[in-house]
Every structure is written in C-alpha cells, then in structure tokens.
C-alpha cells in the first residue's frame, strides 16, 4: 500500500483505497465503539452500505485525530487490521488529486514539496526580473517611505495577482462542485441552516476538540497517544492567521478603490494591524504543525502526503515571514528587493493552492455540509 500511495492513483489502486475504506467501515459499523470521537462514526451509522462517493465523503469528514486508532480493539496486529485514520488519509489525499483541475496537474500533488520550492524560486525570479525590466536600479534600491507602488505600480500588482488569485479560486470552486456532485447526492435540500451549521463547525473546528462528554473537550490523540489540544491550537493559528492576512489585503483593496486611500497605511491602521496579527499566527501555526508532523506516530502517518502538507505549510510560513520583513524594513532601501521576494512567495502560494494541502479546506467544508444536512433528518 505504501508504494501505491506514492504515485498518483488510478484504476485498480483507487479501487483498493475504496475497498479498504469500505472494509473498515463495515467493521466499524458492526462495532461502533468510537462513536464519541468525531463526526465520522455517527455519519457512518446513518447507512448500511457505502458507495465510493460516501467513502470519499467520510474520508474528508475525518480530520486524522487518531482517536479511533489508539482505541481500536482491532488495530494491527489484530487480524482485522483496522487503521481508520491511515486508510482515510490515503483516500483523502486521493480525492484532492481526483477533483482538481486540470487533471494533468493532479500528479503534481505528489511532488508538491518540490513543486512549491520550484514555483517559489520561479515566482521570486519572475517578480525580480519584471521590476528590473521596467524599473531603473535606483528605483528598486531607493527609499520610498514604504510606498510599494513606487516600485511596482498599483495596477500592475492588482491585475497580475488578482488574475492568479481568481484562477486559484476558480479551480477550487470547480473542485468543490465536482466533489459535491459525487459525494452529496441530495444537496437539493441544502438549507441556510445546514450552511450556517457547517460554517460554524468549520470555524470553531468542532470535531478537532475531540468532542468530549457534552462540551468537555479533551482534544485529539495527535501527535501521540495521549490527549492534547495542541494541534487544534496550531491549526487555529494557521487558519485565522490566513483569514486575517486575507482580510488585510481585501481591506487594502477597499481602501484603495472605495475610499481612494492609498498605501502605505500606518502601523496602527486596520489593514496593517490585521496583517501583523495574522502574520504572527502564520509564523507560529505552520511551524507548529510541521513540528507535530515530524514527531507524529509513524503507524498512522501517511508518508506520501508529507511533502504536500509540509510544502504548503512552509510556504505559508515564508509568505508571512517575508511579509513581516517587508513591513519592518519598508522605509529602507531594502524595500524593493523585499517586496519582490514577498510577492514571489505570494505568487507561488496562489499558484499551488489548488494543488496542495490547501484544498482540504474545500472538501472538508463540503463534507461538513453533508454531515449537517443529514444530522437534520
């Protein structure tokens, strides 16, 4: 199996992943001891048979907390060899590949660690080359009191990054649509309530708390057998850090176009505050997650996915680091170069978003939606 998950899967191998998940869900459904851990088991109990789409859904409802692995009376070396988090991690990684677009880029998922580095180098190189092409050296290395647009005109920045960003969003939405088509046969009865519910579950990371007894959360068995909230904390830092940085950029755009207030904004302005706080979250969160991954139990970890996860996290960290550096030195002659480096990492982030770990957010949200809808019944 390990070898199978190192390549983009298709045909027989994919059938294997589904068959294994189906085998496990049949055992779990006859056992049900883990129903208190997460959303997967109650969701599983709503049905007796599992189509491939159901399994893709359940795999994305699993957030790999490992609770059910350590608690399993049938974990290997028992002859039933039940390892739900591992089987689901493999299947999940495979849904990321199957539902992205265009198909041929799907293979890039596997080599994502490498891909990210290449794109980043390329991105930085491209931005540097472009400004060297259009700007004289004294502009690049001059002091501009934090005015980025002196080096790269606002429109150039807005249009180039805007279009890459829109491309990424387009691909992600397309993946979302296709995943839902295959995994949520009854989406017709989607209600505002289920959307709100799923959004809530996503924002508070409901299931990551370990869903203890009526609100008493004791966390996940990650990175080891003992219970801990540490992964949730790092994940929240990453998630909210990302959203804050995104909010900072959006707010800047509103300031620019709606109010005509041009950057640079003061250190205490909202966009800079959001960016700074979010940026700090994006330093600590991804680093923490990478560290946890390194020390996590090898019996449940899926190695093939590691490059993809780490590549994305490293990129988030670098985007944040270069962004904060840019903020710190924006009034010096290093600004031009720092700007190029930062924009290069951002470019790489946008380009790899639909082909890396980021997509888990998309399919997980789709899974939470179906989960909420079915809970209503």
């Amino acid at each position: 199996m390990a070898a199978a998950s190192d390549e983009a899967l298709q045909g027989d191998q994919l059938a294997d992943l589904h068959d294994e998940a189906r085998r496990l869900m049949t055992i779990c459904n006859a056992c049900r001891y883990c129903e208190g851990f997460c959303g997967v088991f109650p969701a599983m109990m709503r049905q007796n048979t599992f189509a491939d789409g159901d399994l893709d859904y359940l795999a994305n409802l699993c957030h790999g907390c490992n609770g059910c692995y350590y608690a399993c009376q049938y974990a290997p070396p028992h002859e039933f060899a039940v390892n739900v988090p591992q089987a689901f991690a493999r299947l999940r990684a495979d849904t990321y590949r199957r539902y992205t677009w265009p198909g041929f880029l799907a293979g890039l998922f596997q080599k994502n660690g490498t891909l990210v580095s290449v794109l980043m180098a390329g991105g930085i190189g491209l931005v540097l080359a472009l400004i060297h092409l259009f700007q004289p050296a004294e502009v690049i290395h001059g002091e501009h009191a934090g005015n980025f647009y002196a080096v790269i005109p606002h429109n150039v920045m807005a249009y180039s990054f805007g279009s890459v960003f829109l491309y990424a969003v387009g691909v992600l939405l397309f993946g979302f649509w296709r995943f839902r088509r295959d995994t949520a046969p009854s989406q017709a009865d989607e209600t505002a309530l289920s959307v709100a519910g799923a959004t809530h579950d996503a924002l508070v990371m409901k299931y990551m708390g370990g869903g203890g007894v009526r609100g008493k959360m004791d966390g996940c068995n990650y990175p080891s057998e003992s219970f801990s909230q540490v992964r949730r904390v790092f994940h929240q830092m990453t998630f909210w850090g990302f959203l804050l940085c995104f909010a900072a950029t959006s707010l800047g755009t509103v300031y620019h176009y709606v109010f005509g207030w041009e950057a640079p904004y003061g250190y205490t302005s909202l966009p800079v505050l959001f960016g700074t706080v979010g940026g700090i979250g994006l330093l600590i969160g991804p680093l923490g997650l990478i560290y946890l991954k390194r020390i996590a139990d090898p019996n449940v970890l899926v190695n093939a996915q590691r490059g993809m996860d780490t590549g994305f996290l490293a990129l988030l960290f670098l985007v944040s680091l270069t962004g904060l550096a840019l903020l710190g030195w924006r009034e010096t002659s290093a600004m031009g170069t720092l700007l190029a480096i930062h924009l290069g990492t951002v470019l790489a982030l946008f380009l790899t978003m639909p082909y890396g770990k980021f997509v888990h957010a998309v399919y997980r949200y789709a899974a939470l939606l179906r989960n909420r809808r079915e809970q209503k019944r």
Partner: protein
C-alpha cells in the same frame, strides 16, 4: 530486555480491568507493584479490551448516565437475571461498592461518553467508555506508568508457591525464560478459562469444540487451576458462562463485539435439520442477548441459521460478514447446506401461522414488544411474527460465542481467596486475593446483566489492591 525483579511488595497477575484496578490501588497505597500480563503489549488487557460499558449503582443522572440507578434496583435486576443463583450478601456488597465506580475511573484518565446511538437501551444503568475498553486500558496503563508501576508483557505466571495457605513466590515465564519472583501478596486477576477448550468440555462435553471465543485467547484459567489444586473453594458450575450467538464465520478467538449478529428477533432460527427450536420473538434482543449462545450450544454442530426476508433485513444492526442471499428459500437452503424441502416446509408452516393468527388488530412494530405472534405453531414466535415472503432472502449462520466462564474461586468481602481448611472449615488466604472474571461465579451463578463484568473487576480489583498493599506494609 530488563529481567524481572526478584522481589516486590505486590504481584498482580493479569493485565485487564480487574488487574489494573488492583495495581493502581496498591500503588496509590505505597506498595511496589509488578503487573504480569501474559499477552504481548498489543493485545494487553484481556477481555477488557473488548468492553463497552460498566453497570454501576448511582443516585442521579450525570453527564454519562440518563438517570439514577439505585442499589436496590441493581440488586433486584441481578437477582432476576441470576434467578437467585448468587451469593446475595456479596452481591449486595458489590453493588454498594460500585457507587463511585465512574468517578474512580475518571480520576484515572478514563473517558466516558453519553450513549449516542441509544441502540442498547442501557443509557440509564450503564456508563459508556469513549472508544471502548482499549481506551480504558490505555488510560489505566498511562496512569500506571506515571505512578511507577512495573508492567511486563509476555509474562505468563505458570505456578504459585503456596505454603500453609500463604503465598510466597510466583513462577513466571517471561519472554521465553522462567524465573521466580517473591512478593508479600498476590492478586489474581487472570480472567476466566474460556480459551481452554478442553476445560470447557468438562462442562459442555464435545460441544465445546464448536464454540468460538469472543475475547482474548490468553484466558486459559491456569491460575484458577493452580488455586483449585491448592484446595481453593469454588463458586458456580462448570457449564455456567456468558455466551451469545455470533457469526459462525468469526475468528476462533478475539473477534470481539463486531461479530455479533442481531437478526434473531426478526428472523426464524433453524438448526441443521431446518427446524425451528425456540421462540425467537420472546423478548427484545438485548434482554435475551445471552440465551441464544446457550441454545445454539445444544444444537447439532452448535450451529443455527437466522432467516429473514428483504422486509426485515434492514431492521437490525448491520453485520460484519455479509449474509448469504438468494431469491428463493430453496436456493437459500442450498447456500446454507440445508435440506431444501425441509426449509421450505418450515417457512411455509411459519408463514401460515403468522397469517392464520388471531392477530388481525396487531401491527408489526420493530423495537417494541408488538405482540404480533404466531397461532398454533410450536415453538411459537410471540412477537414480530411477520411472514417471510419477500425476496431476496437472507441467511445468517450463527454459533455459540463464549464471552467468559463463571466457575471461579470463592472470595470474601476482602477479596481474599477462600480455602478448604484441614478440618473442613473455610479459611481465608493470608495474602492471596482474586478479582474479576476469576471470581465472577460468586456473583453470577447463572445469567448476566450487561456491564456487570466490569463492575466485578473494578470493585474486587480495588479491594484486592487495598488488601494486598496492607499485607505488604505489615
């Protein structure tokens, strides 16, 4: 690999719920404790690995039980299921001592959950473990490690040195090598003997060959035998045990909870001769859970087949192994290797008795005793007697699955093993304690109340650990 210590205060034999309750208690009272578990680490904890809940007395609802379960009610339930076949004094004592069971476990890291699916109907009387028994054991062992308890795996106790009713040393096979460990007290929490088929034959005859063992394969009763050889008094008969109907295709040992099949009440159960032999609809399945294991044991080859049609197949918990499936009763008989004519006749007779019954006003209602019974059929089906006529038809092969045996050593309220003295009078062992399945016969002369196994392990385990620690400090 570190060798075993030569001498400790307390040896605990076993690695399940009873053993860990004893070990934690003894250590908390200051004794040095050596836990000897025959199984490798991955399979530690015996039958406790497979449990789901504990039945304990409590005065009020909590986060994990939906209502009070007073001592008196528990006691009445126990008298009913055992039909009075119990040491009444000790039973009442057990139940009173179970009052703080959940708190004690929670304080040692065990996590509970409300019974979310509510399929079992024990949500008032029993507390459910989050993740089941293996999670309980993980919590116990983590706490044991923190307290400095020495736990050894693949450490099978082979024999005990007992002189004048007092224990002095244990002979242990540890990772292939035999060694003697001395101790001031010993707690035997080594489970029943259900994994020793030859011993089972003493109670069941050759039928025992056809049994499957639901739990660990390491409970072979060696310690029970040693104690009996030294003249320990026993409780319960050799044919008493907890047994249920499980899928005939299950592993010989350790199949655990997932191998049970819940089809019985909605099915007709036929034996090798394609004949019915007992009222399938006598009561709700969980309450009659335990009787079918014994019924199957008495059938030819210890096997029977639950037959349902498409109408009924979705009414019970999905099973681990897919049922055999056919479009006609004849074809199903072929798959089950039964005489097709005989099975057709059995189904036809049954169907006629369903339709012909004077139950026109009764409606089929799954999940409650619906009173929809057969008329003029023997044995009758007293509830859920709905015709079997809608293909496809499904067949579930079922066998006796032994959960645990009851025959064990007699103990007193201090969990001290009772020996027959020279003059025929009973004497309490000076420093030999027992807990869990190995003493279950004191409480369970027959029958079973779901979740009481863990209570027997916890209560007697704690008392044994306390007594053993006291012995060690004297």
């Amino acid at each position: 690999m570190k060798g075993l210590p030569e001498k400790v205060d307390v040896i605990v034999v076993g690695g399940g719920g009873a053993a860990m309750a004893a070990a934690l208690t003894a250590r908390e009272r200051g004794a040095s404790v050596l836990v000897l578990e025959a199984a490798p680490k991955d399979f530690r904890g015996g039958n406790t690995r497979h449990v789901r809940n504990i039945r304990y007395a409590h005065d009020a609802a909590t986060d994990f039980v939906t209502g009070p379960y007073p001592v008196d009610e528990y006691y009445d339930d126990l008298l009913r299921v055992t039909q009075g076949n119990t040491d009444k004094d000790l039973s009442r004592f057990l139940i009173e001592k179970s009052l703080d069971a959940a708190d004690w476990m929670a304080a040692r890291g065990v996590k509970f959950q409300p019974p979310l699916s509510g399929t079992i109907g024990l949500d008032r009387t029993n507390a459910f473990f989050k993740g089941g028994g293996k999670a309980v054991l993980n919590a116990y062992y983590a706490t044991a490690e923190k307290l400095g308890i020495d736990c050894r795996y693949e450490a099978e106790v082979m024999d005990l040195k007992i002189e004048d009713g007092a224990f002095t040393a244990a002979r242990v096979k540890y990772q292939g090598q035999e060694q003697t460990v001395e101790a001031r007290a010993i707690v035997l929490a080594s489970g029943g003997y259900q994994a020793d088929i030859d011993w089972l034959k003493e109670g069941w005859g050759e039928a025992a060959e056809g049994f499957l063992i639901r739990g660990t394969g390491y409970n072979k009763g060696r310690m029970l035998r040693v104690l009996m050889d030294h003249g320990a008094e026993t409780a319960a008969d050799a044919d008493q045990c907890h047994a249920i109907a499980i899928d005939a295709r299950s592993p010989k040992c350790d199949g655990g909870i997932a191998t049970r099949v819940d089809c019985v009440i909605y099915s007709i159960m036929v034996n090798r001769k394609a004949q019915r032999f007992y009222d399938e609809g006598e009561d709700i399945w969980p309450k009659r859970y335990a009787i079918w294991g014994r019924l199957l044991a008495k059938q030819e080859d210890q096997i029977a087949f639950g037959i349902v049609d498409a109408k009924a197949n979705d009414l019970f918990m999905p099973s681990l192994y897919p049922p055999l499936k056919a479009d006609s009763i004849r074809d199903l008989a072929g798959l089950l290797e039964l005489d097709p004519d005989a099975l057709e006749k059995t189904v036809a007779d049954y169907n006629a008795a369903c339709r012909g019954g004077g139950n026109k006003d009764r409606e089929f209602k799954p999940g409650v005793l619906d009173g929809l019974s057969t008329e003029g059929l023997s044995p009758a089906k007293s509830n859920w007697a709905q015709t079997i006529d809608t293909p496809p038809y499904y067949g579930y092969p079922l066998r006796t699955g032994i959960t645990f045996t009851y025959l064990g050593v007699k103990v007193n309220k201090e969990a001290r093993v009772q020996f027959k003295g020279k003059d025929g009078r009973t004497v309490s062992a000076a420093n030999i304690f027992a807990a869990g399945e190995i003493v279950s016969g004191n409480i369970l002369g027959q029958g079973y109340a779901g979740g009481i196994g863990m209570a027997i392990g916890l209560v007697f385990g704690r008392i044994a650990g306390e007594g053993a620690a006291r012995n060690a400090s004297n």
